[in-house]
C-alpha cells in the first residue's frame, strides 16, 4: 500500500532511484513535451514536491489494451514509477479490492479529493441500452456522469474513449459514444491510439502534475506535442514514397528493401501520432518498421475508412455498381433526349424528310 503523504521524491529515494536517473527522466519528459531544457528542473521540483493526485480509472467498452500499454511503459522504468506515483484509487483490472470494496474505494477517493482528482477513461460509453455494459449494477453512462462531476479533468486514454473506437464502428450495435459527447463541462484531453504510446500517456499525466493544467491541444483535443505531426512526415520510409518506390505485397522485393507501404494501405500520411519518433517497446520499432502499414488508429473512425489494405488514393464507395447505374440512367435520359431531338427536327423541318425535289437540290448545290 502506498502511503499517500509521501511525495514522489521521497518515494524514489526510498526505492533507491538515484537523483541522476530521476533528473534524466525529467529532462526526457521536458523534451517529449517540447519544452525548453530549463523546464526539466521545474518538472523535477513539481514531481518531487507533488502529493500524489488521486486518479480514478474507469474502464467501459474496451479491451484493456490501453491499460496493458501503460503498464508496459518498460518495467521497472521510471515511467512506471510515475504511474505508481499517482494515487490510482480505482482501476478495475489492477486494484486488489473487488466488489463493494472496490466501489467504496472509488467513492472515498471522490469524497476526499472532490474537484481535484483526475478521471482516466478507457473504452466508449454505450447509450443503446444501459445493460450493455455495467459495473456494480451501474451503467457506464451513469458512472461516468457521477465520477466526472467532481473531477478536475478527464483524460481519455485510447481511441475508444476519445473517439468511440471499435465499439463506435458501423453499425455501432451498442450505441457507443466517446466521452466528449457526454461530459461537456470538464476539461478533456484525448490521448487516442489503439493503444496509445506508453510515454505519451505518462507524459500527459506528468504535464498535469507539473503545471496543474492540460497540455496544448489540437482541434481533436489531442496534445499537440504528440499529435502535431503525421507519421508520414517522420517516417524513415518517406524517401521511397518521394521516388515512387512502393512495396507491392508484404513479401516482395520492395517490402524486403523497406520501400514505402502506401500501396499496401498505410495510413501514415493522414495519421497524427508520435509512433515514428517515440516508437514502441522502449524505442524498439513501430508498426511500419515492423513491415505493416499504419492503420491510423489514433484518428477518429479509423475502423470505417475503407480497407486497411487499400491505398489512401482509392475511392471508398465508387464501384462498378455506380458506373452501371450511371450507364442505365444515362441511356434512359439519352433515349429521351434523342427522341425529343428528333421531334424537334421534324417540327423544325430541318431533316432530310423535307428535302426539296432533286432538281432544286441540284440548283442549290450549283449556286
Amino acid at each position: 500500500m502506498i502511503r499517500r503523504q509521501q511525495t514522489l521524491g521521497e518515494r524514489l529515494e526510498e526505492r533507491g532511484i538515484s537523483r541522476r536517473s530521476f533528473l534524466k527522466f525529467c529532462t526526457t519528459t521536458a523534451s517529449l513535451l517540447a519544452l525548453p531544457p530549463a523546464f526539466a528542473p521545474r518538472i523535477a521540483e513539481a514531481l518531487e514536491s507533488q502529493r500524489r493526485p488521486s486518479v480514478i480509472w474507469l474502464s467501459f467498452q474496451e479491451c484493456t489494451g490501453c491499460s496493458e500499454s501503460i503498464l508496459r511503459a518498460g518495467s521497472p522504468s521510471i515511467e512506471s514509477l510515475i504511474f505508481e506515483a499517482i494515487s490510482l484509487d480505482y482501476h478495475e483490472t489492477l486494484q486488489a479490492a473487488a466488489g463493494h470494496q472496490a466501489e467504496a474505494a472509488r467513492e472515498q477517493a471522490m469524497a476526499e479529493n472532490m474537484g481535484k482528482y483526475l478521471v482516466v477513461v478507457d473504452g466508449s460509453v454505450p447509450l443503446g441500452n444501459p445493460g450493455f455494459s455495467t459495473v456494480a449494477g451501474q451503467s457506464n453512462v451513469e458512472t461516468l456522469k457521477q465520477v466526472a462531476k467532481g473531477a478536475a479533468a478527464v483524460i481519455c486514454m485510447g481511441t475508444c474513449s476519445a473517439f468511440g473506437g471499435i465499439p463506435y464502428a458501423k453499425p455501432n450495435p451498442t450505441g457507443a459514444v466517446p466521452v466528449s459527447e457526454i461530459i461537456t463541462d470538464k476539461p478533456i484531453v484525448n490521448v487516442p491510439g489503439c493503444p496509445p504510446i506508453p510515454a505519451v500517456m505518462t507524459s500527459v499525466i506528468a504535464h498535469y502534475i507539473t503545471f496543474g493544467s492540460l497540455p496544448e491541444l489540437d482541434d481533436l483535443g489531442r496534445p499537440k506535442v504528440f499529435y502535431g505531426q503525421n507519421i508520414h512526415d517522420r517516417c524513415y520510409r518517406r524517401p521511397f514514397y518521394e521516388r515512387g518506390q512502393f512495396a507491392q505485397s508484404f513479401d516482395d522485393e520492395g517490402a524486403k528493401a523497406g520501400w514505402c507501404l502506401y500501396k499496401l494501405g498505410c495510413k501514415g500520411p493522414t495519421t497524427y501520432n508520435a509512433c515514428a519518433v517515440l516508437k514502441w517497446n522502449e524505442g524498439t520499432s513501430f508498426p511500419i518498421e515492423a513491415g505493416h502499414g499504419c492503420l491510423g488508429c489514433s484518428e477518429p473512425n479509423f475502423w470505417d475508412k475503407g480497407s486497411f489494405y487499400a491505398p489512401l488514393s482509392t475511392a471508398t464507395e465508387l464501384g462498378s455498381g455506380t458506373v452501371a447505374a450511371g450507364v442505365l440512367a444515362g441511356a434512359v435520359l439519352g433515349a429521351g433526349a434523342g427522341y425529343a431531338g428528333r421531334k424537334m427536327q421534324e417540327k423544325g423541318k430541318t431533316g432530310p424528310f423535307e428535302a426539296p425535289p432533286v432538281a432544286d437540290a441540284g440548283q442549290k448545290e450549283n449556286s
Binding site: T270, N301, S313, T316, G319, G326, Q345
Partner: protein, 217 residues
C-alpha cells in the same frame, strides 16, 4: 466525416455517377438525331477511308495555316499528352484505377511524371494567360472556355501540392485534389470538355461530307 472521407466516398461516387450519366446521355442524344441523307451522287467512292484520313490529318495544322496556328497545335498536343501521362502513368493514380478495375499497368518514375505535370500545368497557365491577353481570343471566349480551362487545371495544382506536401496538411490537400477531380467529372459532360467523345466522330463526318463533294480535305 472528414473532408477526405467525403472526397474519397460520396463526392467521388456522386461525381462519377454524374459523369457517366452525362456522357451516355449526351452521346446517345446526339447519336439518335436524324442524319441528312445525301441527295446528290457521291463524287468519291472511298468515303470511309477518306473520313479516317481527315480524322488523322486534323491532328496537324493545315500547311496553309501553319504559321498562324502552330503554337496552338503544339501547346494543345503538349498539355493533352501530359494530361494522359500524369493521369495514367503516375503510380498512385494507377493504384486508384487498380482499386476500381482490379488490374493495373506499368508506370513511369515519379520524377518523370512530376516533370511532365509541371510542363502541362505551365502550358495550361500560358494558354489561359493568352486567352485573357490576346484581344481576338478574349473576344471569342465565353464562360465555357475559361471555366473548362480552370477546372482542368485545378487537379494539377492540387495534385502538385498534395504530392509535395505543401500548403494544407496532406489529408486536406488529398481531399481537395479528389474534390477537384470530382468537379472536373461533373463539369465534363456539360461543357466543351464533351469534345472527348464528339471530336473524332465530327472529324470523320466532316471528312466524309467534304470528300463526297470532291473536296480533298
Amino acid at each position: 466525416m472528414t473532408l477526405l472521407d467525403f472526397a474519397r466516398g460520396p463526392a467521388l461516387q456522386g461525381a462519377a455517377f454524374i459523369f457517366v450519366v452525362g456522357m451516355v446521355w449526351r452521346a446517345l442524344g446526339l447519336l439518335l438525331l436524324h442524319r441528312n441523307t445525301p441527295l446528290s451522287r457521291n463524287r468519291d467512292n472511298h468515303l470511309a477511308r477518306h473520313g479516317f484520313r481527315t480524322v488523322l490529318s486534323r491532328f496537324i495544322p493545315a500547311p496553309v495555316f501553319e504559321r498562324r496556328v502552330s503554337f496552338q497545335y503544339v501547346a494543345g498536343w503538349i498539355w493533352h499528352l501530359g494530361f494522359f501521362v500524369v493521369l495514367l502513368f503516375f503510380k498512385i493514380h494507377v493504384m486508384f484505377f487498380q482499386g476500381l478495375l482490379g488490374f493495373g499497368w506499368p508506370t513511369l518514375p515519379n520524377g518523370v511524371v512530376v516533370a511532365v505535370a509541371g510542363i502541362t500545368l505551365g502550358v495550361l497557365l500560358w494558354l489561359l494567360g493568352r486567352r485573357i491577353v490576346n484581344p481576338v481570343l478574349r473576344y471569342i471566349s465565353t464562360f465555357n472556355d475559361y471555366s473548362s480551362l480552370v477546372v482542368t487545371m485545378l487537379p494539377f495544382i492540387t495534385g502538385f501540392l498534395a504530392f509535395a506536401h505543401y500548403g494544407f496538411a496532406y489529408e486536406t490537400m488529398l481531399a481537395l485534389h479528389i474534390l477537384s477531380i470530382s468537379l472536373l467529372l461533373v463539369w465534363f459532360p456539360f461543357s466543351k470538355l464533351i469534345h472527348v467523345i464528339t471530336l473524332l466522330p465530327s472529324r470523320y463526318i466532316l471528312g466524309v461530307k467534304f470528300w463526297r463533294r470532291g473536296v480533298q480535305a
